[in-house]
Symmetry: C2
Subunit: 404 residues, 2 copies
């Protein structure tokens, strides 16, 4: 009998806790595993010896079900980057000592590209120093930009939120008789997957968003204004989905407005606000920009059931892989078919994943570079299927909570 | 047999279409009423003779149920202000002619404070000129600032969205080990009802939002910074709910533009962003501001069942009132008890409602002027109860749609 540890890293999603539940359930059903520890605030908890015993916290099926429906990370997160152990091994020694003290023989790290760097380095250190601790990565990110996997847990729920919200914004934008432009800024610093996913509304015959701009395509403000004017010949209320990461020529200036506060600080704003101002100044109609902000990564109340279930499955599969002796791997989805939607879970070498980014395919971007193709729609659609019904208490969804 | 007309005015909510369904159902069950016309874009449609025959559009119980779950206004809206008919009666003459041509004997206007100005003026004109057309107002606004009614349809759904989203933001804000401040900007130009409603999370033991700022209390940036610092001694991740309409001393320098709408309202933007900048400059921790934007008024996917049902009931009650000979009235809710929650629907003289605003009670604001009392919690809680389950197609909520 031995113990395992699990931690969560990077930005929140609606599915990270579901992956945690999957690791927990997978470990619970494994007769060789005794204690299941959660490291608080990702690898920082492993370095500082800050663990909690999850078997004392998740004591019923109800707890596990509630955990799956709770957004963000109950164990906390971090953005801590391990140094190269050949230059400074102090963190590694602390982790090793803490794992030894807790008899931890396998470590599961739920995170994105950057977190997989931690998996890669830790595995390399353990192998180099002859310590038999398995290290397995479990992918998560709403950005969907992790290599070697068809998609990442967390993305489907974010895409479902974006689709439902975009549709409500479309209804809202059409109420007045005057022409209008609505610019919706969507997360994705370097990859446009989430912005592109707003095309799913087409499956229900909704032509909006009429324009979609991704970091993977060149962007110019002049072309944007031309596109808006052209769309206005066809639609009274034009909707544009814009990735926060588009390569706008003014990006270097931080989209700072000319406004300053009482302290003389310039106001910085996102690309949506910048394009709102440019459109208002050049086209002169009613213009609004909307930033979906953190809501798009934590809206568990409209999570994708497919996503939440897959997140748990890939967490359990990670435990199975470690028990089979694998280490230095990240679990991945391979899509077998779109319709019916079928995936299998495999493991993939962490060295081909860590610190890399999977971009949105340029062949799925329309010729005009302001929309996406039907191939993209067919890719996205299965990922947002099914609803997770929250439990409500006093009219408010119930979350699993460790802290105040 | 005669016909009636109904129109929708002002800003969208998740419940306006439910009130439309209530007027439709009420009229459908009335043997004296034949045609049920919808005027497109509010009173503009009545002026221009732009009507659609709702009996041809709402042809099944399914249609009516879907309409109740669809946000915004299927008939479109307007912000058109009628002139005093003693100065310029041209609009009134057009409306009268169009109503006569369509044999319309009663007109129902779903809207807020400003829209009730239209109800008042139109009723006065009809009475003055001896035209027997009943005019009844049906309240709606997420601002909840309409006189003489306990609350307004649309508010409960907006409050439920704010509560669910605020809770998800709270989860999101707590992931890192470093201290942080999150400022959530909530709609309400002159009344703080919706911002105050975020206190409902307390019913489930959630202490956040830790600070609540309303237009009804004095506001100073210095006091705000003091409050944040004090809250940071107790909470790692401080959450402040801030009304867009707080009287911030720096508002003139660019947080309100000089633009005004037809009613003379200033366009507001950016109080949250302003406070984010000030907090970052003065406290120096991680700060984020989040604007809930139009999502808070159109998020039908998490509407309050109480709200949606009441919106339909008050629409039907308006038809009943007109059939009983009433005119120049707005329908109102009178709360009989909080627990069990019971309301009755009455009518109230439009002259005591139009162009007035019901402020959040100052006695429900805490002594420190940065929070609300338990009386406020008890008032809000019944309004967010119950869930409306959307129909999903391809993983996306289905909306009733007239146009593209």
């Amino acid at each position: 009998m031995f113990n395992i540890a699990v931690a969560q890293s990077g930005g929140p999603t609606a599915a990270i806790n579901s992956s945690l539940s999957g690791v927990f359930s997978g470990a619970s059903s494994c007769r060789d595993i005794d204690g299941i520890y959660g490291a608080i605030n990702g690898i920082e908890g492993a370095i500082n010896g800050n663990f909690i015993d999850l078997t004392k916290i998740l004591t019923s099926e109800y707890d596990i079900d509630l955990l799956k429906k709770t957004p963000s990370t109950i164990l906390g997160s971090c953005r801590y980057k391990l140094k190269d152990y050949r230059e400074d091994s102090s963190d590694y020694e602390k982790i090793s000592a803490n794992f030894r003290d807790h008899d931890i023989k396998a470590f599961f790290y739920i995170g994105g590209n950057d977190s997989m760097d931690t998996v890669m380095k830790l595995d390399a250190y353990f192998k180099e120093t002859g310590i038999d601790i398995k290290v397995i990565g479990v992918p998560k990110t709403i950005d969907n930009d992790v290599m070697n996997t068809d998609h990442t847990p967390g993305f489907g729920s974010a895409a479902k939120y974006v689709a439902a919200t975009m549709q409500e914004i479309i209804r809202d934008s059409r109420v007045y008789s005057i022409p209008s432009v609505t610019i919706v800024e969507i997360m994705g610093r370097d990859a446009g997957w989430l912005t592109a996913s707003s095309c799913v509304l087409r499956a229900n015959g909704e032509p909006a968003p009429h324009l979609i701009y991704l970091p993977e395509a060149p962007f110019s403000t002049d072309k944007f204004l031309e596109d808006i004017k052209e769309a206005q010949t066809r639609y009274k209320a034009v909707i544009a989905a814009v990735s926060e990461g588009i390569s706008c020529e003014n990006r270097q200036t931080g989209f700072s407005s000319e406004l300053t506060d009482a302290f003389g600080h310039k106001f910085l704003s996102g690309v949506g606000k910048y394009l709102e101002n440019v459109t208002a100044a050049n086209i002169g109609c009613k213009v609004r920009s909307i930033e979906l902000n953190v809501m798009q990564r934590c809206s568990s109340h409209i999570a994708s059931l497919t996503d939440i279930n897959e997140a748990a499955q890939i967490g359990s599969a990670a435990v199975e892989a470690a028990m089979n002796g694998e280490s230095g791997k990240m679990m991945v989805f391979r899509r077998i078919s779109n319709n019916p939607y079928r995936v299998e879970i495999l493991s993939s070498d962490i060295k081909s994943i860590a610190n890399k980014e999977k971009k949105f395919p340029t062949e799925w971007i329309s010729k005009d570079e302001n929309n996406v193709t039907t191939d993209a729609l067919n890719y996205f659609l299965p990922l947002i299927q099914g609803e997770v019904h929250p439990e409500y208490r006093n009219g408010i969804p119930v979350h699993f909570r460790l802290d105040q």
